[in-house]
Symmetry: C2
Subunit: 223 residues, 2 copies
């Protein structure tokens, strides 16, 4: 009974996500779904990413949190449209929430839509939001055992950002060990060591993301 | 339909948790349910706590993770019984999982059972495990916005550990702001600033926990 319902929920989500994905492609919008544990630094990374890309791409952001509008306010200060979804207890975003949030965004004027998921290393990985790219952030303060303990998230992500590398000297985290673990779980995903605080490494990430957006748009235009 | 099932699930969990709580009280076992985001340092705190208390109390530990037995192996090295529950995808422990794990523990020879929940700031707070005390760990590297964003967890905890205070000089985290936020959400919960790495602050936490165990045992004995 329990398994049955979970499967129905995921099926219903997939159907909505499928429609979202078609709509995004029709409009040439590239969609990033960014995930991490609480406090890994997603929002600060997004502030910096928007700063680096807003001259090159038309960007909007959907912020997912259980409550508060803190994050959408932070992003709106960067001068791009930002919507806040409050899940009111739910531990992840689902495709239906995204569909409703889209109603408030200027979809015909966007190149890149960034969705910041609820801070959670488990449930968000299971819910398709119609995105082109799932990416995740691990903070180096979280420890090297995270890929072993949360393999689905590390396997599903198509790009991984290791944040807070300015704190590396004060932790026992080893980036080489992380790369080795990813070689097992997810060998093709690029790893971007970054510090959202100092800005180190974020240009490489932003350039890679911009290239992925352009690549989708040129493919769509050729259809 | 969805709400209905969630409510049934929680009702079923509460019924099992109620039985667990009666069994623990009958045996004079104090139960701690320890929660946090991934990578906040729960396991290292438990290693240190066991080290500080194992001469005074008979302790066992139940480790909850989606997969791997890394944490139970770490605790077993401290010379106390440790059981690993693998939730196989589930983002929290429930009372039924605890009931099954208990079958492998020497319940008549225990004063303190510590349950380390799955690393997740959302779902574990909703599932009663029959514990006497919910406690939570926040790492100071996670940022000051966590109580606003995950209010249920910060409200439900009866004790809060702020870990990794050795990293305070390298972050913009403010312990006074955390205390002020807790004064709103949860004024009676003590806040223990600790560093699991250096050991700072952990004796105060361990002494407080030992006093809570003794308090329950003297109350139970008086019945």
């Amino acid at each position: 009974m329990k398994v049955q319902l979970v499967s129905n929920l995921l099926d219903a989500n997939s159907a909505i996500a499928h429609d979202l994905r078609q709509g995004f492609s029709r409009r040439g919008i590239f969609v990033l779904n960014l995930m991490s544990a609480p406090g890994a630094g997603k929002t600060t990374i997004l502030e910096r990413t928007v700063e680096l890309l807003r001259e090159r791409l038309r960007i909007a952001v959907i912020e997912g949190d259980i409550c508060t509008t803190i994050d959408a306010e932070r992003i709106a200060r960067q001068g791009v449209p930002a919507v806040q979804i409050n899940t009111e207890g739910a531990c992840h975003l689902d495709a239906h929430m995204i569909a409703r949030a889209l109603e408030t965004l200027p979809l015909d004027l966007l190149d890149l839509l960034i969705i910041e998921n609820v801070g959670n290393l488990v449930c968000p990985a299971e819910f398709d939001l119609g995105e082109d790219l799932k990416a995740m952030v691990i903070s180096v303060t979280e420890g090297n055992d995270k890929p072993a303990k949360y393999p689905l998230m590390f396997h599903e992500a198509r790009a991984i950002l290791a944040n807070k590398i300015d704190l590396l000297p004060y932790t026992n985290f080893d980036l080489a060990v992380l790369r080795r673990d990813l070689d097992e779980l997810n060998p093709e995903a690029p790893l971007f060591p970054v510090s959202a605080r100092t800005g180190e490494g974020l240009e490489a990430w932003a350039d890679w993301l911009a290239a992925a957006v352009k690549n989708k748009q040129s493919t769509t235009a050729a259809d």
